[in-house]
Subunit: 255 residues, 2 copies
C-alpha cells in the first residue's frame, strides 16, 4: 500500500494556518455587528427568514458549487441542496477513500463554532459594515473548514496506511476511544498551538495600528484549541469509521 | 471646508497593501493555467463565449452587487449590467463628491493589466486547478481595485480640499499636465515601492517552501510601478475632472 507522506501533509496544514489567521484578522477589522446575524434581517425580499450572514453563505456556496469547488474532498459546504457543478473537469484524483462525504462533513459544526467565536474576535458594537462582515465571515469559515477537513481526511488516511491491520482491528471492534488514542498526538497539538500564536503576532507586527485592529494571539489560539483541533480529530474518527477496510488476511503467525 | 486627513488616508492605503500582496501570493500557488482564460473554455453550458475567468468574475460581481458592495465608492466592478442591491442599508456616507461613478471606474483596465501580469506571477504550465486560479484572480483584482480607487478618490479629494481655488483654476484651464504635476509625489511613490518590496519578503519569510511557492519582491514591485501607481494617478485626474467645482469667488485682492 502506497505511503502518504505525513510530513508533507503536516507542511500543507501549516501552510493553511496563514490563510486562517489572515481571514480572522480581516474579519476583526469590523465590529461584531449582531444585526448581520439576526434571523430575518437580511433585507433580501426573497429571504424573509434568514440572516444576512446565512444568505451570503448560501449564495457563496451555490456559486462555488457551480464552479465545482466541492469536488475537492477537503472543500465541504455548510449548506445542502446546492446546484450541480457546471464543469466536468476534475483537477486531481485525491488519494483518499471517502465513501460518504456527508458523514465526514463537519462544516455545519464549523460554522456554528465560528459564529460563537465572533464576539471574542471582534470589537463590541455596530459599525454598519454588515456586508463586509459577512463576506469575511464566509471566507474565514471556508479557510477553517479547508484546514479541518484536510487534516481530518489526509492525516487519518496516512495513519491508516501505516498500519492498516491494526486500524482494521480497532475499527472492527468499534472502539472509538482506542482509535482516538491511536491517532492523537498531544505533542503535535502543543506545537501547532504555539506556532499559531507566534504567527498571529508575526503577521500583525508591522501593521499600522492607527488603521488596523490587532487580534491577540490568545484569541486565535483558543479557536484552534477549542474548535479546529477537536473537530479535526472528530473528522479523523468519522473518516476512519467509514473508510473501506483493507480486509487483508491476518499476518501468518511466526513459525 | 473640512479637511480630509491625508495621513490617515495614506495609512489606509498602506493597510490595503497586505491584502493585495496576500492575494497575489495566494494566486501564485497555482500555475498559469492558460486554459482558464480561453474564451469559450468555461464549460458552463450557458456561457459558450466566455472564459472560466470571465464567468467567475461576472458571478462574483453579480453576487456582490446584490449585497450592495458597489454602494461603497472604492469598490468598483469590472462588469456593467449588474443586478440591483437587495439591501437598502448604507453603511457610511463617503466624504467624496463623486458625480459619475462610471467616469472614475478603472476596474476594466485593472482586470486587463492584472491578466497581463499573471504569466509573470505564476509558474509556467498547467496544474489543472482552474477553479482555484480564477477564484484567487477575482479576489486579487478586487483587492487591487479597492487600493487603486481608494487612493484615486480619497487622496485627490483631500488634495483638492487643501487648495480648492488652485485646483479650480487648473481644472478650468483643462490643463491635465499641470493637475498631474500638482498631485504627483515621486518621493511617496518611491517609498511605497520600497515598502511593498520589503512586505513581500516579510509575509513569506516564515512559510514552508516545501509546500508554498515564493513570489519575488520584484514581481509585485513591478505591478505597483506599472499598474497600480499609474492607474491611481489616472483615477485622481478623472475624479478631479468630474468633481463639482467649489465655485468660490476669487479671493479679494490684497489692499
Amino acid at each position: 500500500m502506497q505511503r502518504l507522506d505525513l510530513e508533507l501533509i503536516a507542511a500543507r496544514l501549516e501552510g493553511l494556518e496563514e490563510t486562517v489567521i489572515n481571514r480572522l484578522v480581516d474579519r476583526a477589522q469590523f465590529a461584531r455587528n449582531a444585526e448581520a446575524y439576526r434571523a430575518g434581517g437580511s433585507e433580501f425580499p426573497d429571504e424573509p427568514q434568514r440572516s444576512l450572514f446565512e444568505v451570503r453563505l448560501r449564495y457563496q456556496e451555490e456559486m462555488d458549487s457551480r464552479f465545482a469547488r466541492y469536488r475537492v474532498p477537503e472543500e465541504r459546504p455548510v449548506n445542502g441542496d446546492l446546484p450541480e457543478p457546471e464543469r466536468t473537469t476534475i483537477s486531481h484524483p485525491a488519494e483518499l477513500a471517502v465513501t460518504d462525504y456527508d458523514a465526514v462533513n463537519l462544516s455545519p459544526q464549523i460554522a456554528e463554532g465560528y459564529l460563537a467565536f465572533v464576539p471574542r474576535l471582534c470589537a463590541k458594537g455596530d459599525d454598519g459594515n454588515y456586508g463586509s462582515s459577512v463576506e469575511h465571515d464566509v471566507l474565514a469559515i471556508q479557510a477553517i473548514a479547508r484546514r479541518i477537513h484536510y487534516g481530518a481526511l489526509y492525516v487519518s488516511e496516512s495513519k491508516y496506511r501505516e498500519s492498516p491491520d491494526e486500524f482494521d482491528q480497532l475499527l472492527n471492534r468499534g472502539d472509538r476511544g482506542a482509535v482516538l488514542s491511536r491517532i492523537e498526538r498531544p505533542e503535535v497539538e502543543a506545537r501547532i498551538l504555539s506556532r499559531v500564536a507566534a504567527k498571529v503576532d508575526y503577521v500583525q507586527a508591522q501593521v499600522n495600528t492607527r488603521v488596523r485592529r490587532i487580534v491577540a494571539p490568545e484569541i486565535v489560539l483558543e479557536l484552534y484549541r477549542d474548535l479546529i483541533i477537536p473537530l479535526t480529530k472528530e473528522g479523523q474518527l468519522r473518516y476512519l469509521a467509514t473508510r473501506p477496510r483493507e480486509r487483508r488476511e491476518p499476518p501468518p503467525s511466526a513459525c
